[in-house]
Every structure is written in structure tokens, then in C-alpha cells.
């Protein structure tokens, strides 16, 4: 039985990598074949992950295989698989959503010149993300962490003719790389003090021996990586720009799976992090700040994809708040449900963008996006789930977060949670009303027929599946809870703060009502209350001037400051001295050459002078 699991794991993770290599080397010029290869590979991975999940649903402890890697380099690093409940759950989420998005992309990306290249990068991403979810040691996680960053760079900058796309790709990579460097340093601190990088060992005995402040330092450093990858507070501005990539990419990477890798790592090392309460406090603060900031930005954005990008940041902030507050199950459950409905949101927006060729929500409304029946219905369902309307999955996961927050001593976090729920509901239904109840419409566009061609059907399929998942997933809360109980002892009978659930629901409904009042009503002039206060509007629209700060920092400190200084030093100081030296010798040469052409008497005099000097030197040296 053990071999079957290992075989399935290897198949699930390495098949997409094989597909990537095949496409890049051989089938680069044959798009259809590469698409089939990639989708086939991810389908097999999906089947394996589901089988693994079902088989190990009741398994007692984690299933783990590891071999010694780089032994000869003097380090003891374990490499292998850690297929515990969390790993398998993440494996299944990534596999399902990758499969759905790759099928969706058959329609969306049809006719794109870089079609096979797109599928190659998608398979590369699938391999990296799948292997990350079942990695055995922290170093292995770091390696696939970087590869995921690389595939996000390649996919964001997929349409590289557009300067903005390659710029966004570069920005994304450098920002995540800043986070990764913190993670890398955290890795060293842990390796040097705990002597081992295995995930099980760190969660278990190894971490006990570490002194307290080293524990906090390494936790903070590793959290730096999470901040980078999941676009949390300081390093968040790359995610909205990442929307330059194709929409399926945004759906897969920048909403459901890649950005969730940070939260997954948090959950993976949850026991290790919870050893230092001070660190958890800081994580809670960062999660809250990024959640609130992102939701304010979402309220004013006019680009549909950017709205969902800000929403992703804020939902990730929610998850980190939940985990930091000790709600292990709440965080992981929200991660699962969020992956579902956020992917659905993006894919539906993708259909609208694909057919109406615009991202602006007001234009989408004007060009009549109502006539696409399936995407409209599924986007409404997804928006409702996002705002936490029962009976959808979003409500259950948000409710478990609110419970976790309520359990905290300081009520401030709960208040922030409520504000978040309100804003989330407001901005998601703002988009709905603007798109589906436009003020002025272009008649001939609105009444055109819904195009039922093959591409459309390829896109509609995944929407239906995801919509079903969003609706049904809520009811799987209980089975999921005792499935995950295997890892952390979750107090199943946590005291029900039912008043907080009702408060959260009421706030969500108020949010929707405000959105309806401002955008949905018959005579509403569709202008948000924020837009009326220009300074606040610009603050939010400019992403709290974070981008300016970064550009200023890179421009002044890096470009104009240090590198200019060092370049001058290199040019003037070092090269200068050497050229001066060379010039000096050449000048010396000219002088001594001239001395050779002097008249004969002076030469004889010089000879005699030297001889006299040597004689005197004798006496001088004698004394």
C-alpha cells in the first residue's frame, strides 16, 4: 500500500514537469498537441490527488518518505514527500483549480501566438505548486517557493510585447524575491540553531531546544517570505499589477493557489510559529492592516480584475488573522473556500473581458454583460459567497474566522473583522450593480445573442463546476474539521459566539444595501461615497502611495544613490588611480628618454656624479 501512495505522489507532482519539458523542447511549434499534453498531465495529477485524499481520509498520522540529499556537501537536508492531511488537501485544491483553469484557457487563449508557451509555463507552475504542498523539509519548500515565483514572473509577463506586462512581471519577481530573501535568512537561523530543516522535526521536538528570541527572530524572518508571496502589507502592490497577465493566470495563480502558498506555509509551520506568542501578535497586526488597506483600495478601483486582486489581498489578510488568532481550522477552511469562489470570480470576469475586450466595470455594464447568462449567474453566486451570505461556502468559512477572532481577549481585532466583512460586501456588490444595472446602455450591443460556440462552452463548463462547489462546500465544514483534526488538536466544541455570527451577517447585508442604494437603485448616479471625498479617493486609488514610495526608493536609493556612487567609485577612483599610475609611468618614460639625449659633457658628468655618490654611500653606510 505504501508504494502505491509514493507512486501516486511522484506521478501527481512530476508529470506536469515532464509535460513542461516536452512542450518546451519538442512540441513548441504544435499548439494543439502541447495543450493536450498539459491538460492530460494535470488531469492525471488531479485524479491521483483525489485518490490520495480519499484513501488517507481516515489515515492516523502523516505519510512521509525522505532521502538524504546533498549529503556530500556536509549538510543534512531531507528531501522527499510529506503527505499529511494539510498537504493532501492543498494538493487537491491546486490540482482541481489548475485542471479547471487549463480547460477554461483552451477557450480563452485560443489563437494566441504563444499558446504552447502558455501551457508550458502552466505545467511548470503546476509542478512547482504541487511539489510545494507535499514538500518534506523547509529547504525543499523554499526551492519550490522560488520556482513558483519564477512561473508567476513568466506568466505575468506572458504578453511581453506589452511593456507594462514585462514591467509588472519584473516588479512581482523582485518584490517576492525580497520576501524570499527574508525566508532564506530565516532558514539559515533555523538550520544553525535547530540543526534540522524537516517540517515534522520543526513542529515537533527540534524547535523546543531553540532559545526564545531566536525562535521569534526565525518566525518573523520566515513570515517575511509569507508577506512577500501572499502580498501582505509592506509588499502588496505587486499583486494588482500582476493583473497584466492573462485572466486564467490571474484566476489560478494570483487568487487561488500561488498567493495562498504563504498562508499554506503559515499553516504548515503553525505549531512552530505558535511557540512564540509575540510573533503571532505581529502576524495578526500585519494581517489586519493588509486586510483593511486592500478592501479600501477595492472600493475605488474601476478595473474589474484589480477589484478582485485587492479582494484577494484582503481575504488573505483575513486568513492570516485567523491563523494568527489560533484558529487553525478557520484559516485553512477559508483558504479552501476562497480558492473556489475567487477563481470563479476571475473566470467569469474573464468571459466578459474576452468578449467585450474591456476591463472597466462601467464599460462592461454599458456594453451589456447581462446577456451572458451562465457567467452572470455564477459571478453573482461568487460575489455573494465572498461577502459571506448563507448558505454559500463563504459564509461558513467567514463565520469560523469571526469565531476565532471573537475568542481573542482584545476586542479590537473582532471590530476590524466586522469592518472587513462590511467593506467586502460593499465593494463586491458595487461591482455587481454597476455591471448589471448600468445607467446608460448601447441598445444594439445589449440585445446581441449569447455566442454559443465551442470556445464559450469550454469556458462555461468550469464556471458551472466551480459555482456548484461554492454552493456545496459550506456543508462539508464538519467532515473537514475532523479530517484536519489529525494534525492539530482542534477543540471541536469551541464556545459558539452566535451573537458574532448574526452581527457579521447583518453587517454583510448592510454593505449590500449601501451598495444597492448607491449603485443599484433606479435613479442612483453610481458614484461611491468615497468618490465624493477627493483626498480619500486619491489616497485609496494610489494604493496609499505605497507604489510611489517603492519607486522613489528604487530610483533614489538604489539607482541614483548607491549604484551611481559605486559606479563613480569604480570609474573615477579605482580606474582613475590605475590610469593615473600608467600615465605617470609613461610621463616618467618621456622624461628619462629626454635625459638620454642630453649633450656628451652632461653624460660624463652624470657618470662621475654617480661614482662619487657610490663612494660617499660607502662612508655614509660605514658610520
Amino acid at each position: 500500500m505504501a508504494y502505491a501512495t509514493l507512486a501516486a505522489l511522484i506521478l501527481a507532482t512530476f508529470l506536469p514537469f515532464a509535460a513542461f519539458l516536452l512542450i518546451m523542447i519538442f512540441t513548441r511549434t504544435k499548439p494543439a498537441l502541447s495543450a493536450r499534453l498539459s491538460v492530460g498531465a494535470i488531469a492525471v495529477s488531479f485524479v491521483c490527488s483525489v485518490l490520495l485524499l480519499t484513501q488517507n481520509w481516515t489515515a492516523p498520522g502523516p505519510v512521509e518518505y525522505s532521502t538524504q540529499f546533498l549529503a556530500s556537501s556536509g549538510l543534512n537536508i531531507q528531501f522527499g514527500f510529506l503527505a499529511d492531511q494539510l498537504g493532501l488537501l492543498m494538493l487537491t485544491i491546486v490540482a482541481t483549480i489548475s485542471l479547471l483553469v487549463q480547460i477554461y484557457s483552451l477557450g480563452y487563449m485560443a489563437g494566441d501566438p504563444g499558446f504552447s508557451r502558455y501551457y508550458a509555463f502552466m505545467s511548470l507552475f503546476a509542478w512547482a505548486m504541487l511539489s510545494l504542498s507535499v514538500s518534506r523539509s523547509l529547504l525543499q519548500i523554499y526551492i519550490f517557493w522560488e520556482l513558483v515565483g519564477l512561473s508567476s514572473y513568466l506568466l505575468i509577463g506572458f504578453w511581453y510585447e506589452k511593456f507594462s506586462a514585462s514591467q509588472a512581471g519584473k516588479k512581482a519577481f523582485v518584490m517576492t524575491r525580497a520576501g524570499d530573501v527574508a525566508f532564506f535568512l530565516g532558514l539559515f537561523v533555523v538550520l544553525l540553531n535547530a540543526g534540522n530543516l524537516g517540517v515534522l522535526e520543526l513542529n515537533g521536538p527540534a524547535a523546543r531546544g531553540m532559545p526564545h528570541e531566536i525562535l521569534t527572530l526565525s518566525a518573523l524572518l520566515i513570515f517575511g517570505g509569507i508577506v512577500g508571496k501572499s502580498a501582505q502589507f509592506p509588499l502588496m502592490t505587486w499583486l494588482p499589477d500582476a493583473m497584466e497577465g492573462p485572466t486564467p493566470v490571474s484566476a489560478l495563480l494570483h487568487s487561488a493557489t500561488m498567493v495562498a502558498a504563504g498562508v499554506f506555509l503559515f499553516a504548515r509551520l503553525f505549531p512552530f510559529f505558535s511557540l512564540s506568542p509575540r510573533a503571532m501578535g505581529i502576524f495578526l497586526a500585519i494581517g489586519t492592516i493588509s486586510m483593511l488597506l486592500a478592501s479600501t483600495m477595492a472600493m475605488v478601483s474601476r478595473d474589474i480584475k484589480r477589484v478582485w486582486a485587492y479582494s484577494t489581498i484582503s481575504q488573505l489578510g483575513f486568513m492570516i488573522m485567523a491563523l494568527a488568532a489560533g484558529g487553525y481550522f478557520a484559516g485553512v477552511f477559508h483558504l479552501t473556500t476562497h480558492a473556489g469562489f475567487k477563481a470563479l470570480l476571475f473566470l467569469c470576469s474573464g468571459v466578459f473581458i474576452h468578449h467585450l475586450e474591456t476591463n472597466d466595470i462601467y464599460d462592461l455594464g454599458r456594453l451589456g454583460s447581462r446577456r451572458f447568462k451562465i457567467p452572470t449567474i455564477s459571478i453573482v453566486i461568487a460575489a455573494a459567497a465572498l461577502s459571506g451570505i448563507p448558505p454559500l461556502s463563504g459564509y461558513f468559512s467567514k463565520e469560523s474566522i469571526i469565531t476565532a477572532l471573537a475568542g481573542l481577549s482584545n476586542p479590537l481585532w473582532l471590530l476590524a473583522g466586522f469592518v472587513g466583512v462590511f467593506l467586502t460586501a460593499y465593494y463586491s456588490f458595487r461591482v455587481m450593480f454597476v455591471m448589471f444595472f448600468p445607467k446608460e446602455i448601447e441598445p444594439e450591443k445589449v440585445h446581441a445573442q449569447e455566442p454559443y460556440d465551442a470556445g464559450y462552452r469550454a469556458m462555461a463548463g468550469p464556471l458551472i463546476v466551480l459555482a456548484a462547489a461554492t454552493v456545496l462546500l459550506g456543508f462539508f465544514e464538519a467532515p473537514l474539521k475532523n479530517f484536519l483534526a489529525g494534525i492539530i488538536v482542534i477543540d471541536l466544541q469551541a464556545p459558539e459566539h452566535d451573537w458574532s455570527h448574526i452581527a457579521a451577517l447583518v453587517l454583510a447585508l448592510c454593505g449590500i444595501a449601501l451598495a444597492w442604494f448607491e449603485f443599484g437603485r433606479r435613479g442612483a448616479e453610481q458614484v461611491g461615497f468615497i468618490d465624493k471625498i477627493p483626498p480619500l479617493y486619491h489616497l485609496f486609488a494610489e494604493r496609499w502611495y505605497l507604489d510611489h514610495a517603492y519607486r522613489l526608493f528604487v530610483d533614489l536609493v538604489i539607482d541614483r544613490g548607491i549604484s551611481w556612487l559605486l559606479w563613480q567609485n569604480d570609474n573615477k577612483v579605482i580606474d582613475g588611480t590605475i590610469d593615473e599610475l600608467a600615465g605617470g609611468t609613461v610621463e616618467g618614460g618621456r622624461i628619462s628618454a629626454f635625459l638620454q639625449t642630453v649633450m656628451i659633457q652632461y653624460r660624463l658628468l652624470a657618470i662621475f656624479a654617480v661614482l662619487v655618490f657610490l663612494a660617499f654611500y660607502f662612508f655614509f653606510q660605514k658610520i
Partner: protein, 475 residues
């Protein structure tokens, strides 16, 4: 007293006499003179080779023949043969003076052979003067008088001045040691080396030989003599007279010089001075021969390092270096001679396009210049390496580092020459050079020797060590 010991000298004396007779009785014909001189020179080499093993003294040690002197005689005769091989068409020496030219060449070589095997101050003095005077006239023999004459005057004046200094030095040495035989001096001097008269006398005596080797204070004649003299004579001065100078300095210092810090300091000062002055002045040169003159001055500095080490590896290193100098300088001058059919002075930029005109000559020039610079796979590097090993054995690390820095400076101007040969394109399209078969052969062999001796120098080192043994025995 069997006369066979002095067989080489007798032969060269006869050859000189032959050309003297020719100049009186027959009409000068360049072709015939060149062939006969070539024949005589090659015979001379054979005689010297034959007499390598001969040992013994004539005129009570005034003329000593030992392995040291015989090895150097072979080098001198070989050098003469090579130079005469270059004198195929002597455009620069007038038709009328061809015979005198060869007569003087043979006399000068004869004098140098006597100098090499001289064991007595007087024989050193006389043979040195004879070789110098013949060189003064050879330098002035150039057809376009203004160059030749000026060089001749300057060479003569500095030369005689130096011989005056040498004489005074010898007088001081004689007055302190009471004997003029080098062998006796070696036994008498050790005790009193720290007396001023002895040591200054020694330094002044060496002054005369430093003139021949073009060491720092006495180097003023070299640039003008090289530039002024015709290419073949300059080649002769650069190779053969340097070898003789090294031999006599080695012998005098080995016999008379003793372990005295002052004496070593003097040699260090002179060595560093001549290296630096030579290398620096060479950077600003436009005329190729003048550049080679300054490089010779620099090389005399490196040779002095070998001498000042005063230990067996030092002597063998110096002898090997003299041999290396002969090979390197000859190849460089071969290219100079070939490139100046009318015997005119070559500017560095006249080398332009050499790699196209004649790849073999360009390669020969490059290999010889890299060897002069001391880049490893060449004989020049082995010479420098042996000399540096000797110096560091005595602990003079700073001197070796200064010498290596000088190597770097010297590479700069050698690279300028190579740049001219390989990179520059001539303004007017020059005809492809077709050197005659013997010259091609000569260039090939000499380049081969330079590189082979760089890779596998052991046979030559063994010869140098054998010669060096004699200097130690004399102590």
C-alpha cells in the same frame, strides 16, 4: 706550453689577417667577401667546439683556458656566425669598406675571446680596449655619415671615459692587493674587503665592464650607438659584446669580489637603476633599434641581479641569461635587418601589416619580444626565473618584486611593438616580404630554440652549471 689551447684565437687572428691582406691587394667584391667570411665564421665555430675541452694556462695564467672560457668562446663564435649570416646585402657599409668591415668584425671577436679567457688585469685591459676600438670604428662605418659619425663619437667618448675609470680602479686594486693576477687576488683580498680602497677600486674596475654591458651610469652610449650604427653592427653589439661583458664581470666578481654588504648594495642600486631607467625610457621610443637598446639596458639590470646573488645558482643563472640574451636579441635584430633592405632606421610604425607581409617574421618578432619580456614558455623566462631563484635564495625578495614590476612595464612597450606588427595597417600597400631561404630557416630555428629552451631548458642549464663550477673553484 702547448699552443693548441689558444687554437680558436689563432684561427680568428688568421681570419682577420686574411681580410687585412684582401683589403690591400684585391678589389672589394661584396658577394665574395660575404661568402668567405661566412665560411671562416662557420670554421671558427667548429674550432671553438673542438677546443671546448681544452684546459691550461699560457703566459702564467694571463691566458687561462677552462670550461668557462671555452663555453663563452663557443657562444662568441656562434654569435659572430649568426651576425655574418645577416650581412647578406650590406647596403649601409659602402662597397669600398666591405673588407675593413669584416676585418674589424673578426678582430673584435678575437679580442673578446682573449677578454673571456684573461686571467690577468693587464690582459683584461688590453683585450677590452682592442674590442672597444674596433667597435667604435664599426659604428662609424655607416654610409649616411651623419648618423654613424655622431654615434661613433658618443660611443668613443663614453667608452674611453669608462676605460679611464677602469684603469684607475685597477690601480687601486693593484695597490691594495699587490698582485695583478686574478687567481692571487682571490686569495689575498678576502680579508680586507671592507677597506675603502679595495672596494671602491673593485667598483671602479667593474665600471669599465659595466660600460660594455650598458649598466646604469655607463649606459648613455647604448641608445645612440644602436640607432646610429648600421643594423648588422647594432645586432653585433647587442648580442656578442653583451655575452663577453657578462663573462668578464662574472670572472672578476667571482675571483676578486667578496661577501660585503656594501658591494652588494652598490650592485642592487645599479641593477634597480638600470632596470627602471631602461624600461621607462623605452616606453617613449619611436625608433625600433633605440627601443631595443633601452631593453638591453633593462636586461643588464636583470643580469646584475644574478651576479649580486654571489652564489652558485647565481652564476649559472647569469651564464644562462647571457645565452638567452644572445638568442632573443639575435631573433629581434633578424627581423629588423630583414625589414630594412636599404639599411634605414626602422620606426615602430614601419612594422605595420607585418603579419600579412610575412607571417613567419611576425611570429619570430612576437616570440622574441615575449621572450625579452619574460613570458614563460620562452628562454627569457627561464633566464629570469633562474636569476630570481638565486636572488631569493639570498633573501632579496623586495629586489625580485621590483624586477617583476619592471617586467610588467617592459611588457607594455613590447606589446606596443607587437600591436604595430599585428594590428596596424600600413598607409601605403607594402609588397609581401619574401625572405630568402637561409633567413627563413634561421628565423624558424631561432624561434624554435627560444620556445624549446623555455619548455625544456635542462640541457642548457647543465652547460651553464658546468661553466659556473669554474668560478667557484677559483675561490
Amino acid at each position: 706550453m702547448n699552443w693548441m689551447i689558444a687554437a680558436p684565437e689563432i684561427f680568428y687572428f688568421a681570419a682577420a689577417l686574411w681580410f687585412l691582406m684582401l683589403s690591400f691587394f684585391s678589389k672589394p667584391d661584396a658577394r665574395r667577401e660575404h661568402l668567405s667570411s661566412l665560411l671562416l665564421a662557420s670554421l671558427g665555430v667548429l674550432v671553438c667546439l673542438a677546443s671546448v675541452g681544452s684546459q691550461g694556462y699560457i703566459f702564467i695564467q694571463a691566458f687561462t683556458a677552462d670550461i668557462f672560457s671555452q663555453v663563452f668562446k663557443v657562444l662568441l663564435s656562434l654569435g659572430l656566425f649568426l651576425i655574418i649570416a645577416l650581412c647578406g646585402n650590406l647596403p649601409d657599409v659602402g662597397e669600398r669598406r666591405i673588407q675593413d668591415f669584416y676585418f674589424l668584425l673578426f678582430t673584435c671577436t678575437l679580442a673578446m675571446m682573449l677578454l673571456v679567457s684573461a686571467g690577468h688585469l693587464l690582459s683584461i685591459f688590453v683585450s677590452l680596449e682592442v674590442s672597444s676600438y674596433s667597435l667604435y670604428i664599426l659604428v662609424s662605418l655607416r654610409k649616411n655619415q651623419d648618423f654613424g659619425l655622431e654615434a661613433g663619437i658618443k660611443y668613443f667618448l663614453v667608452g674611453t671615459f669608462a676605460s679611464g675609470v677602469m684603469l684607475f680602479g685597477m690601480a687601486l686594486l693593484y695597490s691594495s692587493s699587490g698582485t695583478t693576477y686574478l687567481g692571487d687576488m682571490a686569495r689575498v683580498l678576502p680579508g680586507m674587503i671592507d677597506q675603502p680602497v679595495v672596494v671602491i677600486g673593485l667598483v671602479l674596475t667593474l665600471g669599465g665592464f659595466f660600460f660594455k654591458l650598458a649598466v646604469f651610469p655607463f649606459h648613455f652610449w647604448a641608445p645612440d650607438a644602436y640607432q646610429g650604427a648600421s643594423n648588422q653592427v647594432a645586432a653585433y653589439i647587442a648580442t656578442v659584446s653583451k655575452v663577453a661583458a657578462v663573462a668578464v664581470i662574472a670572472r672578476v666578481v667571482a675571483y676578486a669580489g667578496q661577501e660585503s654588504t656594501y658591494f652588494v648594495h652598490v650592485l642592487v642600486i645599479l641593477s634597480v637603476a638600470s632596470m627602471t631607467v631602461g624600461n621607462l625610457a623605452a616606453i617613449a621610443q619611436k625608433d625600433l633599434k633605440r627601443l631595443l637598446a633601452f631593453s638591453t639596458i633593462a636586461h643588464s639590470g636583470y643580469i646584475l641581479i644574478g651576479i649580486l646573488a654571489l652564489n652558485p645558482t647565481g652564476w649559472s643563472g647569469t651564464i644562462f641569461y647571457a645565452l638567452a640574451l644572445l638568442a632573443m636579441k639575435f631573433t629581434a635584430f633578424l627581423v629588423v635587418v630583414e625589414l630594412a633592405p636599404e639599411g634605414q632606421n626602422l620606426q615602430i610604425n614601419d612594422l605595420a601589416g607585418l603579419h600579412r607581409r610575412s607571417p613567419l617574421l611576425a611570429l619570430a618578432l612576437m616570440v622574441s619580444l615575449f621572450s625579452l619580456a619574460g613570458i614563460p614558455p620562452t628562454i627569457g623566462f627561464t633566464g629570469k626565473f633562474l636569476v630570481f631563484v638565486a636572488a631569493i635564495e639570498r633573501g632579496y625578495i623586495a629586489l625580485v618584486i621590483i624586477a617583476m614590476i619592471n617586467v610588467v612595464i617592459s611588457l607594455y612597450y613590447y606589446l606596443l611593438v607587437i600591436r604595430a606588427a599585428y594590428l596596424l595597417e600600413p598607409s601605403i600597400e607594402l609588397p609581401a616580404l619574401k625572405p630568402s631561404m637561409p633567413i627563413k630557416l634561421l628565423a624558424g630555428i631561432s624561434t624554435g630554440v627560444i620556445v624549446a629552451a623555455g619548455f625544456f631548458p635542462y640541457p642548457l642549464i647543465r652547460v651553464a652549471q658546468a661553466a659556473a663550477q669554474v668560478l667557484l673553484v677559483g675561490r
